[in-house]
């Protein structure tokens, strides 16, 4: 074997250069020990890419290990490009969620678009055809032109990419909170379907097998994007703009079709997308998974620009590329499939016996690492965790003592304020930009509690939802982590689905700060408890640290992506009322809690108090009750009670579907001993609003399951409007007035202010 020598023109390896690569002194020492010499510039780039937080999970791996990952349905847990679960009849679902926060903060349109592209590839490289996209978005307040620009750009980026590829975007969530000023969160989730026997893994195998680079050419896009994703957002990021990657959904669509054809063809043994840290991470990970050596020749990689160095080729994050391990002798068949789709495939390396990870430029060796050391030697850190004083202080605020505003003497006023709060208001402005019906499987699209897609050829359907309330997590990360899981579970259960498994995207600040790492550990512990209680294992996910801006850290936001299964199409249930005359039942109980509520945030500008308690046994029994009642055919509609509390939930039931509006007559006198605002707007967990033609049966099923349930009113005609009697007061509002507040709030902000709307609507334009 020849020696690894610096390449002519390589910069000298200095302490400053090592620091610039985001590596600590001790990490650098580790590399030198691993190699038995000083790394070359190319090697430094490789390690820096693989050992940065985004690829290595060095601060999170030990904590993530505590999550439950096994279950009867799980075919593939964490460790692959996406998790896979069986849903019956030989059908499996692959799904995963991933963040693209930092790129979206710099260039919202391309950042969001390439985020969608990346997660799509993670799913179709498992052999699954993508059937649905979801997302979870966080922005600062829409009062700021910059935030409106980010919101508009991200939504357009998500829409344009998914629409073009032809995968429906069916659900998601959007929250506005000034905690996300300067650091929006853009999490995209993809769901794919496959037959169990079509699963393929990203594991290099078979000495002599060729490695091919497939799809788009490699340019200088996003070099060091991965380390960039692991830095705090600051002025310095502004200067990093050329790193922005541009998405090409057209090529992605071709790559999707070609990859599925390739996988089904039997000519390949493994396939992996080139995502963060591009060729480097995909090749090193595939080799490590297969426990084999690989050699890659950068001079054979098809490039877009002349004069690219091995360093650049290895670290480029050009989009829409795949790494494929083919069967030896089948290169031509692989090429033919790609040519059919107007794509190229070049052999750039092969699987070798020798346990090394080797990169050459023609004949010259430019990088070489022993075995899978690159992956296995990666440092793992257990850093100190301690709850921040600010969090404790916030939680300890006596929010029950918050003085009511004069205007609150009329609860109708409060209701209207909350209906128009952007976090609660209808997100139709955004999701009408997403094609939600392509592929004709969408039974319930955006706007319901969870999306529902039928599974063709069976009588089943799947339900999907992303959820997280970052405010709760800020106030109490363990409770907040639990609630993220149970809320997503309740949402899918409301459609008639049994919660089956989750994926998660953990968005936090800088983990080397003890108060942030405390949030992380506690939130993961909460997720763990809830997943065990509900028997919904974790099949994968993503961690995004360093979500901070000059104004501080974001709310810790562990987003849960939940998958549920509906065993018969007949059981699919919608969230809005169906028939006037139906009886309205509340499953679960009201409490005096208002801590962490949207009411406090919107009406009083306050984030404080303890978040609502989360009783996991109750949540499990609630879901069992709901599903039993739905299967018995006695539930006309079911709607989860969350942001804004019971009054908002009921208002949504009458007018969230503009094509089918009702009135409702509600009496909450049973809770007159509690504070009125807690009854109306408190966010007690474990509640679902049901409408039924056979309320007695619902009550009977609830009683048998030990779940509190009570008739709270009846569904009336649209013209009757909404009446809620509670605490000796009467809240009365016309359905259309409530609908206008709810449906027009976001369009009013985004369209009616012509300056901002126009600026944002113009492609690729910056304020």
């Amino acid at each position: 074997m020849s020696e690894v020598l610096p390449r002519p023109g390589d910069p000298e390896i200095t302490a400053a250069l090592v620091r610039e690569h985001g590596l600590t002194e001790s990490e650098f020492e580790r590399i030198c020990n691993m190699l038995g010499r000083t790394p070359t510039f190319t090697e430094l780039g490789i390690v820096s890419a693989l050992w940065n937080e985004h690829c290595s999970y060095k601060h999170s791996r030990n904590t993530l290990r505590t999550l439950p990952t096994e279950g009867a349905a799980v075919i593939q847990g964490p460790g692959e490009n996406a998790g896979v679960v069986a849903i019956g009849d030989g059908v499996a679902i692959a799904f995963k969620i991933e963040s693209h926060n930092h790129p979206s903060a710099i260039e919202p349109y391309q950042g969001a678009a390439t985020g969608v592209g990346g997660i799509l590839r993670d799913v179709f490289t498992m052999g699954a055809r993508p059937i649905a996209m979801l997302n979870s978005l966080r922005f600062g307040s829409l009062d700021s032109a910059r935030n409106r620009y980010l919101f508009a750009g991200v939504v357009k980026g998500i829409g344009d990419y998914g629409n073009s590829v032809g995968v429906p975007t069916v659900a998601g969530e959007i929250v506005f909170d000034s905690a996300y000023d300067g650091n929006p969160l853009v999490n995209a989730m993809c769901v794919g379907m496959l037959r169990e026997d079509e699963l393929i893994r990203a594991k290099a195998e078979g000495v002599g097998n060729p490695i091919l680079c497939v799809g788009a050419r490699t340019g200088r896009d996003g070099i060091h994007g991965a380390s960039f994703a692991s830095e705090d957002l600051s002025e310095a990021s502004e200067a990093k703009r050329p790193r922005v990657q541009v998405g090409d959904p057209f090529t992605e669509k071709l790559l999707l079709e070609a990859s599925l054809e390739l996988i089904r063809s039997g000519h390949i043994v493994a396939i992996q997308d080139m995502g963060a840290a591009g060729l480097t991470s995909s090749s090193a990970e595939m080799a490590a998974r297969g426990d084999v050596g690989v050699t890659i020749d950068t001079s054979r990689v098809p490039v877009r620009e002349a004069g690219m160095t091995p360093y650049e080729i290895l670290l480029s994050e050009s989009q829409e590329r795949m790494l494929v391990v083919a069967l030896e002798g089948h290169e031509q068949q692989v090429r033919e499939i790609l040519f059919k789709w107007d794509l190229t495939a070049e052999v750039i390396g092969k699987v070798i016996q020798e346990p090394v990870y080797r990169v050459t430029e023609g004949d010259r060796i430019v990088a070489e690492f022993p075995g899978s050391a690159l992956v296995t030697e990666c440092p793992r850190y257990d850093v100190p965790a301690e709850e921040g004083r600010e969090a404790i202080a916030r939680r300890s605020i006596d929010v029950a003592a918050t003085k009511e505003l004069a205007a609150e003497s009329d609860p109708t006023w409060t209701l209207l304020q909350l209906l128009a709060a952007p976090t609660i208001a209808s997100k139709r402005w955004a999701y009408q930009q997403y094609d939600s019906t392509v592929r004709t499987n969408t039974v319930i699209g955006p706007g319901g509690d969870a999306a529902v897609l039928r599974v063709r050829g069976t009588d089943r359907a799947i339900a999907l939802k992303t959820d997280c309330n970052g405010r709760y997590v800020t106030l109490d990360p363990r409770v907040g982590g639990r609630i993220a899981v149970v809320e997503s579970a309740r949402n899918v259960a409301c459609t008639g689905a049994r919660p089956l498994a989750i994926t998660n995207c953990l968005n936090f600040g800088n983990p080397t700060r003890p108060e942030i790492f405390f949030q992380f550990k506690e939130a993961v512990a909460g997720i763990r408890e809830a997943c065990i209680a509900l028997d919904t294992p974790v099949t994968g996910g993503n961690v995004s640290f360093y979500n901070e801006s000059p104004t501080g850290s974001v709310h810790p936001t562990p987003v849960i992506g939940m998958l549920g299964v509906i065993d018969s199409l007949e059981h699919i249930t919608r969230s809005t009322f169906r028939n006037a005359g139906d009886v309205i039942v509340l499953l679960g109980d009201c409490t005096d809690e208002i801590g962490g509520s949207e009411y406090l945030a919107t009406i009083h500008g306050a984030i404080g108090g303890a978040p609502p308690a989360c009783d996991l046994d109750h949540e499990r029994d609630l879901i069992a009750t709901l599903l039993e009642a739905i299967r018995a055919g006695v539930v006309a509609s079911a709607h989860d009670c969350s942001d804004g509390g019971l009054a908002i939930a009921v208002a949504e039931c009458i007018m969230a579907d503009p094509g089918k509006m009702f009135g409702a007559d509600i009496d909450l006198g049973a809770w007159d001993s509690l504070s009125l605002r807690a009854v109306l707007f408190g966010e007690a967990q474990g509640r679902v609003v049901i409408s039924s033609g056979e309320a007695d049966r619902v009550l009977e099923i609830a009683a048998r399951n030990g779940v509190p349930a009570r008739v709270i009113g009846t569904v009336t005609e649209l013209a009757e409007g909404l009446t809620i009697r509670a605490g000796g007061r009467v809240l009365k509002i016309g359905t259309e007035q409530a609908a206008a507040a709810y449906h027009e709030a976001i369009p009013r902000i985004m369209d009616a202010a012509p300056q901002s709307a126009a600026i944002e609507e113009t492609e690729g334009v910056k304020v």
């Binding site: 073009s164 032809g166 057209f250 669509k253 930009q433 392509v438």
Partner: protein
């Protein structure tokens, strides 16, 4: 009767169109590859929705030069039916099978929702199962659906009854409010002079099954069944 759905690179409604033909009306349906020169004996050609060639340059501009389009044009000239949906409508306009062009929505935003449209022509081979004035609920999903043509072309379309569908309220009124993309006269679909090419932005193939929300698109397929003999 046999359906052929063209797959251009970037088409994504091909699958839905084929399902509509095969599942909803039980007819044979095959995919036609854009590089082929053979319509495989199909009676009805569907130019499906999607983003052929990424909608780069102008939607439909590049796809119209696909080899298969030569055969589609010959098929249309023979008077045989071509159903051009969404991106297919854009391709058909670029290829000169239909007059006019489809521009960026007036809102400058993609629009995906269920719309209501009024049946204007109830005698064509695509629409005779409907009655004039019937209100249909059908999904749209497009960013470039603003139908535009020279005033004299529009006058001819209107005068000859070749406007097939018009965006309307649920009550059948036509107003700017219901004109989801700013099309001239609220035009949602048009028919060529010979009556055998229908172009429409809404997706009838996504409205053929009660479980996904609407069956109002079935009429287009049923009309074809009754009106054309294989």
């Amino acid at each position: 009767m046999k359906f052929g759905v063209v797959t251009f690179p970037g088409s994504n409604g091909d699958y839905d169109a084929c399902h509509a033909a095969a599942d909803a009306i039980g007819r044979e349906c095959v995919y036609l590859w854009h590089k082929d020169h053979d319509l495989k004996g199909c009676d009805v050609i569907v130019l499906p929705g999607g983003f052929s060639y990424g909608d780069y340059l102008r939607p439909g501009a590049i796809a119209r030069f696909s080899p298969i389009m030569n055969e589609v044009v010959v098929h249309a000239k023979r008077g045989a039916p071509v159903l051009a949906i969404c991106n297919g409508f854009q391709v058909a306009c670029e290829a000169g099978l239909l007059p006019g062009a489809l521009l960026r929505n007036a809102s400058l935003r993609f629009v995906s929702r269920l719309v209501t449209m009024r049946v204007e022509n109830d005698s064509s081979m695509f629409t005779h199962e409907y009655y004039k004035g019937q209100i249909l609920s059908v999904p749209v999903a497009h960013g470039d659906g603003r139908y535009t043509a020279d005033p004299d072309v529009v006058a001819r379309l209107e005068g000859e009854g070749r406007v097939a569908f018009r965006y309307s309220s649920t009550g059948g009124d036509v107003s700017d409010e219901d004109n989801i993309n700013g099309s001239v006269n609220g035009i949602a679909g048009i028919i060529n002079a010979a009556g055998n090419v229908l172009g429409m932005m809404p997706h009838p193939e996504r409205a053929v099954d009660p479980v996904i929300g609407s069956t109002d698109g079935l009429g287009v397929f049923h009309s074809l069944l009754d009106g054309v003999t294989a």
